[in-house]
């Protein structure tokens, strides 16, 4: 975790109300991994007292740049859209725990719901760089909200579902998962809670439904892995990136918790944002 200045290089509205911004921040990018996030200070402390957390959308260590992708939903995000190239912001990062890909996984299934694409986008780059095959399932409300395929690497197989059927599959993105879950070695998801809950349900019953064995005999080997550890995530079929209202983003304020399967609160900023799906409690009322 480092505190450093970041210079805005480029800012563009890629979809109605959705922005993609590139920042040069070599100190933040060094060591950053897919699934982690930055906590960015607005320049207007008298009005906006909290920083804003953004997932790494892309990470380029060579040029020391990162990009963030957000929707304008309030005064904070609107403040960011008014930035111009050359402006500097204060970033804290990289924060949180990253996605963990098992070294033996060849086929990765990425599932993104709406703006959840921002959470898994960088993993596609990382996986392709490591020679893995990637399928990205994207679910949006209408064609207007569909992430442009031109912003994805060519190697990614991109499948779209929309709620109104205006493009791609007519229905929820989770309905596409069945076609790929036998192919996939691991799955990674980010999006609205109902989508993640439904995916967690699929993942929990996957082995029974498909009768698939785990990849490699020794995988897991039946021994319990410490909850929240990198190994536990690496061995999990489904990893989810969680979202929650956030205060400090370093684990001090306990504002951004989700409940784990044992009923204990886990901080999204510190123990997350990436969790193995089976570590979390999906039924209860937290949101």
């Amino acid at each position: 975790m480092r505190l450093a200045g970041a210079e805005l290089i480029d800012s563009r509205e890629i979809l109605p109300g959705q922005w993609l911004q590139d920042y040069r921040a070599p100190e933040i990018v060094a060591g950053a991994r897919a699934g982690q996030f930055v906590h960015v200070r607005t320049g207007d402390y008298s009005g906006l007292v909290l920083r804003r957390p953004f997932s790494f959308n892309t990470i380029d260590v060579a040029s020391g740049t990162l990009s963030i992708h957000f929707r304008t939903i309030g005064r904070g995000t609107e403040w960011f859209t008014r930035l111009r190239p050359g402006d500097r912001v204060d970033m804290l990062g990289p924060l949180g725990r990253p996605f963990e890909v098992d070294p033996r996984s060849r086929h990765l299934l990425l599932v993104a719901g709406g703006l959840g694409i921002a959470g898994v986008r960088s993993l596609a780059d990382e996986a392709i760089r490591d020679g893995r095959q990637v399928v990205l399932l994207f679910g949006g409300a209408t064609a207007r909200d569909v992430y442009p395929s031109s912003l994805l690497p060519d190697e990614v197989e991109y499948v779209v579902a929309t709620d109104d059927g205006s493009v791609g599959h007519h229905g929820f993105v989770t309905e596409l998962v069945e076609a790929y879950e036998a192919w996939a070695d691991q799955a990674f998801a980010c999006g609205p809670l109902p989508m993640l809950r439904s995916l967690a349900g699929l993942a929990a019953t996957r082995r029974r439904r498909l009768g698939v064995a785990s990849l490699g005999r020794k995988r897991g080997a039946g021994r319990p892995l410490p909850a929240g550890s990198a190994q536990a995530r690496r061995k999990a079929f489904l990893q989810v990136s969680m979202e929650q209202n956030m205060g400090c983003a370093v684990g001090a304020c306990l504002g951004c918790v989700v409940m784990d399967a044992k009923g204990a609160p886990q901080r999204v900023c510190r123990e997350g944002p990436v969790f193995a799906a089976d570590e979390l409690e999906w039924e209860t009322a937290w949101q």
Binding site: M1, R2, L3, R41, T42, Y45, S46, G47, L48, V49, L50, R51, G76, D90, L92, Q244, N245, M246, G247, C248, A249, V250, G251, A252, C253, L254, G255, C256, V257, V258, G263, A264, P265, R270, A285, W286, Q287
Partner: protein
């Protein structure tokens, strides 16, 4: 609680000598470096050097003494005005709790002191108030727990913590190795809870003091009932006082009609210092307008928005009691620190602003030293209480008074 006749008159706060208690200091005495002799030109003007901010001189004493200083010391404005002259920033909160500087970090905003260690020079803080700690583990409130509001934030964490035993097992050893004192914030549901937590903290190396949180607005039985009634506040303070020799701070709630009788009751019950203020109770509405936003409905408002309320409470409390007051509420820059000092606080906690600017507290230490130097003060003590009425007002029977 001992019965005590109290007559508040114009002269009492300034003539009474502070009670000097001969008690073993709870923290190791501060090792003060002698003023570094260097040519003025080489001195960093903002006092960025680690050792220059906290200089020699005696700590600012309990409140009455410091205010006495404030009344008489304004003349010496050019006595020690050299660039780089040591400025006395240390402050005595009573019972040997001597802080190297008057900038603390507020409970709930700095975790247990370790979370921000990567980006903050934690050892340079005056003290750390850790997350509210209860006797038994608490899971906390449903989410969402935080949201931003105009010039502030609402939080409703619900005192999530692993319980006093787990906190001590995990952090006490780390704290004991630190130069910066750690004040454990204690919350509970009953007097017995508070007392038992205090008993378990008593004598533990690494615990420099207790901040009694009798004013958490976010849990149904979070002790707020103790903060709104003078008798209850006095009773819980007295009970904790009997259980421990640790320096005892009591955190006041702004959600009351008149703070003065409560502050007096807490002082009479043996508290060493007061902290003011906790958050103001409030709610936010979800964007759908179908329900309140926070999972717990109610949250506590903090941030720049509450500073005027904090100033008012400190202003009133500092005229009602003689024990030192640690101010908290919307501190975001040096001007806020100076404002709080002017209305009678001897030290200041930084809270919500840390989320946006983690390094702010440490910078405030440097800026306060630089400000004293610029004004030619050898100690920040003469900044304290300057905005208080020169004669204490007569006690009022009318409740809260908003004087123009």
């Amino acid at each position: 609680m001992k019965a005590k006749r109290r007559v508040v008159t114009a002269v009492t706060p300034y003539k009474r000598r502070p009670t000097v208690r001969k008690i073993k200091p709870a923290i190791a005495p501060v090792v003060r470096r002698p003023p570094i002799e260097r040519p003025a030109a080489e001195q960093p003007s903002n006092g960025a050097g680690a050792g220059t901010a906290a200089g020699g001189g005696s700590p600012v004493g309990p409140a009455s003494a410091s205010r006495a200083v404030a009344m008489h010391d304004l003349r010496s404005s050019d006595a020690a005005g050299d660039q780089g002259a040591a400025v006395a920033l240390s402050v005595d909160l009573g019972r040997g709790l001597v802080l190297e500087n008057p900038i603390l970090v507020a409970s709930g905003t700095f975790g247990y002191g370790t979370e921000y260690a990567d980006v903050v020079q934690v050892q340079r803080l005056g003290a750390i108030c850790c997350k509210g700690t209860t006797l038994r583990p608490r899971v906390g409130n449903p989410t969402p727990r935080v949201t931003e509001t105009p010039a502030g934030m609402l939080n409703s964490i619900g005192l999530q913590n692993p319980g006093v035993d787990a906190v001590l097992a995990k952090y006490a050893e780390t704290w004991a190795g630190w130069k910066v004192p750690v004040i454990v914030n204690v919350a509970g549901e009953s007097i017995a809870d508070y007392t038992e937590v205090a008993r378990r903290l008593d004598g533990v190396p690494g615990v420099a003091g207790i901040e009694l949180n009798i004013s958490c607005p976010n849990v149904g039985r979070g002790g707020l009932q103790f903060a709104i009634d003078p008798e209850a506040a006095g009773a819980v303070t007295a009970s904790v006082r009997r259980a421990t020799d640790l320096p005892l701070l009591v955190k006041l709630s702004p959600n009351v009609a008149d703070i003065r009788p409560i502050a007096r009751a807490i002082e009479d019950a043996g508290a060493d210092a007061l902290t003011a203020i906790n958050t103001l109770s409030g709610i936010a509405v979800a964007p759908t307008r179908q329900r309140p936003l926070l999972g717990n409905v109610y949250g506590g408002l903090s941030g720049p928005a509450v500073k005027p309320v904090g100033l008012r409470i400190v202003y009133e409390a500092s005229q009602a009691v003689r024990i030192p007051i640690v101010a908290i509420g919307g501190v975001t820059e040096l001007a806020d620190v100076l404002d709080y000092l002017a209305v009678g606080a001897v030290a200041v906690q930084v809270g919500t602003a840390i989320f946006a600017d983690p390094t702010l507290p440490v910078r405030l230490v440097d800026q306060l030293a630089a400000e004293c130097r610029a004004r030619g003060l050898s100690s920040y003590a003469s900044l304290i209480g300057t905005a208080l009425p020169k004669k204490a007002a007569a006690p009022s029977a009318k409740g809260v008074e908003y004087r123009p």
